[in-house]
Amino acid sequence: MNDATDFENVLRRFGAASSPEHPESLDAMMKQTSARIGAGRSGPRPVIGEWLRFRVDHAAARDAIYKPVELEGGFPPEWVCIETQAANREEYLLRPDLGRRVSDKGVKCLLESGLHGCDVLLLIGDGLSAFAIEQNIADVLPSLTLALQVHQLTPSPPIFIQYARVGVMDHIGEMLRPKTVVYLIGERPGLRTAASMSAYTCYQPNLNTVESDRDVISNIHADGLPPVEAGAVIADLIDEYMRHQCSGVKLKQQKRAAV
């Protein structure tokens, strides 16, 4: 009973989803879109293989949301691990406001962390996908560190935040007063990938920061912006923040004015 069967092999054994009049035309159509066309039917219902594939994609998305972030070998000792004010995953989903504030224990931990006033404060949040962090972080961190070195910058040791929303960077920024923040967070999982990560960046975030002060590089995953390449994109942006002393829409306006 040890022979694990590959999912795709099982689907192949079910046979083709449909037998179109012009198979080559269907192939061509399917190349034009990622939509699930050519799914075939059993009466009015989808054929079993395509249905299982759809449910597998949804299952992965659901698991990504509910699973805590687990790293091989555990969290490195230099990481500072804190939580937001959300008590559990359910409260996290229901109360976006709580996910934007660090817990009392976390506040104490941050104030004792010695991470006050860094040039580049590095935050990592679970957000809505544990897989996003687990599958991308090991490639992003070294590439980001190397790319920042080119600009004579060094990132802080990472602060990992559980039950984190994007806005928690403002609360942390208010406390630790960094010049810039790089915040890697798991995106809401889609059916296409459950492991997509975003990098939110901001110059001097604080409790008065508005959405338009932030920039976001989204879609960081193996089939999107590869994590090994994301580091350089983020570092270039941080370098601009340091030179222009602003971020987001303000940075775009300044650059436009300079041209």
């Binding site: 159509m29 879109t33 799914a39 229901l94 809401r188």
Partner: protein, 455 residues
């Protein structure tokens, strides 16, 4: 205006009419997030009981947002049929519910009298109705709308084909359209949500789908690209073609501001379409709504999401739309937590919309972070079909690769028609028969094969 009631030796007090309205709601995470849901189940029942004996005149005198401060309230009151209202002003909300459930409505009396009901009254009725009440009352209210084709007739379950593409690639959009048509999806509308909202790109998609539907395949349906209303008008003034004009709307003036619209631009759109040569009419507008959008924009004015949703419908009815649908479940678990809440909201929205005289469809959907799945979606779709819903969305296997959520599939449309003995619109049914996709009302072997429609 404090209201108090004792139940089982507990006393419950409500500070005003809209405290009562909020607490009378079935549980919704959005009301909890806003901080005004009932604290206990008994408190919820206390609120429902007091609301049931509230006279309609009290709701008339107290719109959710004051007339002076909110143009949605002004549009509703300025267009209200006061003669009809006066025949019902002494009714309680309980009497309104009783009337809606007992009146056979063979001659459309409910629709006529409802012109004298404000959205707040429709919401109040929904709050004291069970899910089955909502199905029974809505089923009797048949709203027919006509543009190129006619929706809402008995025996018809229509579908908006939603062939979205993550990069607006017209070849990809066309592939999804052909497959959808081959299943019988797309008799209400072929409507694309664009990724790129810039006029040149919107016009390109508009032209592509109009040409596919009306020039290449001669499908009796409507087409539309769901960009901002001003962008669509700009494209159409520049020569791009569409049958209906779309906009998302909210139940407060501030909520509409967050969508970048106001009553003036909706009026402009309405008048533009009336004079636009390519839209057959007389119904030419398409609106989308959804519980929670006002709260998420910080524009809820202290009012619960069911009442605000009804106000969207009060606004929509002034523009005699061809289609209206709530996108129930898209907003996420902060507003509708799980399948139970999404189901309740879907039934409320369909009922309230029909009572407000709208050709209601539903985008029955969920996001991956809500406690819901495809089985839950199929359940709600079956319930709404039983209630006589005008249309659903149709997306390849229910997976929208551009909006990243799940909705009803082409397969679901075919299944629901088979289950409930319904058809596409007669014009569209004939077209399918002429393409060899339907034999009588049964799908042929060709159905589901997009390649038979390649020209």
């Amino acid at each position: 205006m404090t209201k108090t009631i004792r139940i089982r030796n507990q006393s419950f007090q409500f500070s005003d009419l809209y405290d009562l309205m909020a607490k009378a709601n079935e549980p919704k995470s959005g009301d909890r997030l806003a901080g005004f849901s009932a604290e206990t189940e008994l408190e919820r029942m206390a609120a429902k009981t007091l609301l049931a004996e509230t006279p309609l005149s009290e709701l008339y005198e107290n719109p959710a947002v004051p007339y002076e401060r909110d143009e949605v309230s002004r549009v509703v009151y300025d267009s209200l049929d006061l003669d009809q209202y006066r025949t019902m002003q002494n009714w309680t909300v309980a009497e309104l519910r009783g009337y809606l459930l007992s009146e056979p409505n063979d001659d459309g009396e409910i629709q006529r009298r409802a012109l004298g009901l404000t959205p707040e009254m429709a919401a109040a009725a929904a709050k004291i109705m069970s899910n089955m009440d909502l199905l029974c009352a809505a089923k009797k209210i048949r709203i027919v709308s006509t543009c190129r084709t006619t929706l809402g007739r008995p025996g018809v379950l229509a579908c908006r084909l939603q062939p979205n593409h993550p990069a607006d690639r017209v070849e990809g959009i066309r592939a999804s359209i052909l497959e959808g048509l081959s299943y019988g999806a797309g008799d209400a509308l072929i409507g694309v949500n664009p990724v790129d909202d810039r006029p040149a790109s919107v016009a390109r998609v508009m032209d592509a789908i109009y040409e596919t539907a009306h020039e290449t395949l001669n499908v009796p349906t409507q087409t539309c690209v769901l960009a901002h209303i001003a962008t669509q008008m700009e494209c159409m003034r520049g020569g791009a073609k569409a049958d209906v004009l779309f906009q998302s709307i909210a139940g407060t003036q501030k909520g509409n501001e967050s969508f970048g619209v106001d009553v003036a631009v909706l009026r402009e759109g309405f008048e533009f379409m009336r004079d636009y040569e390519y839209s057959a009419g007389p119904n030419r507008m398409y609106f989308e709504t959804g519980q929670g959008s006002e709260l998420s924009a910080g524009a809820h004015e202290g009012i619960d999401q069911v009442t605000l949703e009804a106000r969207c419908y009060g606004l929509a009815r002034c523009f005699k739309p061809f289609m209206v649908n709530s996108v129930v479940g898209f907003i996420g678990p902060e507003y509708l937590y799980d399948a139970k809440q999404i189901t309740r909201a879907g039934l409320e929205d369909h009922f309230m919309g029909k009572l407000m005289g709208l050709p209601m469809g539903l985008d029955v959907c969920y996001t991956n972070h809500s406690q819901s799945d495809q089985n839950d979606l199929e359940n709600l779709a079956a319930l709404l079909t039983a209630a006589g819903v005008n249309f659903f969305m149709g997306v390849p296997l229910g997976d929208d690769v551009m909006l990243n959520y799940q909705t009803t599939s082409y397969h679901d449309i075919a299944s629901l028609r088979e289950l409930f003995d319904l058809s596409a619109t007669p014009e569209f049914t004939q077209w399918m028969q002429s393409q060899g996709l339907l034999d009588g009302n049964r799908l042929t072997r060709k159905a589901g094969d997009a390649t038979c429609l390649l020209k």
